[in-house]
Symmetry: C2
C-alpha cells in the first residue's frame, strides 16, 4: 500500500526529470528545476535518487540482474558466444516490446551517450555487470577469475558488443535492426569468446 505510493512518487519524479533532461540537456537542468516540475521538495528527490545521474541510470538497474540470470539459465554446453548473445538479447528485446517504453529507452540511450557525466555512470554500471558476469563465467567454465584473464575479458567483450549496439541504436532509425545489430556485434567477438574451448582443453 505504502509501497505503491513510493513507486508513484518515484515515477512522477523520474518522468519530470526525463522530460526536462531530454529537452534541455543534462547540465542545463538543476535538481531544483526537476522538483519544481514534479511539485516536490529538493530533499525528497535525494531520498528517491542518490544523485542527479541516478535518475537516468537507475533506468537500467534491473537489466544487469536480468542479464546475469539469463546467462545462468543457458545450458553450459552452449558456446560462450551464443550463451552471452542470448543473455544480452532478452532484456534488449524487452526494451522494444512496449511502444512508449521503447521510445523512452531511446531517449535514455541518447542522453547517456551525449552526456559525459552520465556516460561515466553508465560505464561504472557496466563494470558492475562485468564483475557479476566474470564470476558467472568463471564457475561456468571452472576457471579462476583472479589468475585466468578469460572470464573477465569474455565478460568485457560481451559488454563491448552490447555497448556497440547501444551506440548504433539511436543513430539508425528502424527498431527491427536491433536484432541484426546485436548479431553483428557478437559475431565480431565470437572468435575470441569461443577460442576458450580450445585453449581451455589445452591449458
Amino acid at each position: 500500500m505504502a509501497e505503491r505510493k513510493r513507486q508513484l512518487v518515484a515515477d512522477e519524479l523520474r518522468d519530470a526529470a526525463l522530460m526536462l533532461l531530454a529537452t534541455r540537456g543534462f547540465d542545463a537542468v538543476t535538481v531544483d528545476d526537476i522538483v519544481a516540475a514534479a511539485g516536490m521538495s529538493r530533499r525528497t528527490f535525494f531520498r528517491y535518487f542518490a544523485s542527479k545521474e541516478d535518475v537516468v541510470v537507475q533506468f537500467l538497474a534491473d537489466m544487469g540482474t536480468d542479464i546475469i540470470a539469463g546467462l545462468a539459465a543457458r545450458p553450459r554446453t552452449e558456446p560462450p558466444s551464443v550463451a552471452l548473445r542470448h543473455a544480452f538479447w532478452v532484456p534488449l528485446a524487452a526494451c522494444t516490446d512496449h511502444e512508449d517504453h521503447a521510445e523512452r529507452a531511446r531517449i535514455v540511450a541518447r542522453l547517456i551517450l551525449d552526456t559525459p557525466a552520465l556516460h561515466a555512470r553508465w560505464l561504472e554500471r557496466q563494470i558492475q555487470w562485468r564483475s557479476a558476469l566474470t564470476a558467472e563465467l568463471a564457475v561456468r567454465h571452472s576457471l579462476d577469475p583472479d589468475t585466468d584473464p578469460y572470464p573477465r575479458m569474455a565478460a568485457g567483450m560481451a559488454l563491448l558488443a552490447f555497448d556497440t549496439v547501444l551506440h548504433q541504436w539511436p543513430a539508425g532509425g528502424d527498431e527491427q535492426r536491433l536484432a541484426e545489430l546485436t548479431d553483428r556485434a557478437f559475431a565480431v567477438v565470437a572468435p575470441a569468446l569461443d577460442a576458450l574451448t580450445a585453449s581451455h582443453n589445452a591449458g
Copy 2:
C-alpha cells in the same frame, strides 16, 4: 622560462595531492587539504587541474597519444593483434623504466581502481582513447567506423586487454611479469582481432 615555473607549480601540487590521496584515500581528502599541504590557494589548484580527479587521471594524459602514435607507426601488414599489442606495450614499458616513476604509477593504479569516482574518470579516458583508436583502425583497414562495428570493437578489445593488465598489475608483485600479463591478455582477444582479415575479404 615561465613554462618551467608552471610545470614546477603543477608538480608541487600533484606531489602533495598524490601523497595525501594515497595515504588517506580519495574521499577523505579535500582540495583545501591539498592546497594547504602545497602552500597555495584553492583557486590556483583549479587553474592547473580541472577537477580533483584530474590530478590523478592527468597522470595518464600522454599515454593515450603515445598509444595512438605507436599504432600509426606500426606497418599495416602486421596483424591487428600484434600491432595493437605493440602500441600498448610501449607506454606500459615506459612506466616501469624509472624506479620512482614505476612506484608512483602503481600508486596511481591502485588509487584509480579503488576509488569509484576515479575509476569513472579512467573509463572516460579509455573511451576517448577508443575513439581515437577506432579512427586509426578504420583508416588502417579501410573500413567505415560508423557502419562497421569492427574498428570500434577492436579498439575496445585492445583497451579491455590493457585494463585487465592494469587490474592484475598492482595485485601481483613482480614487475617483470608485466610483459607476460600483457601477452596473455592480448592473446585472449587476438582471435577476434585477427578474424578481420578473413571477414574483411569475405564481406
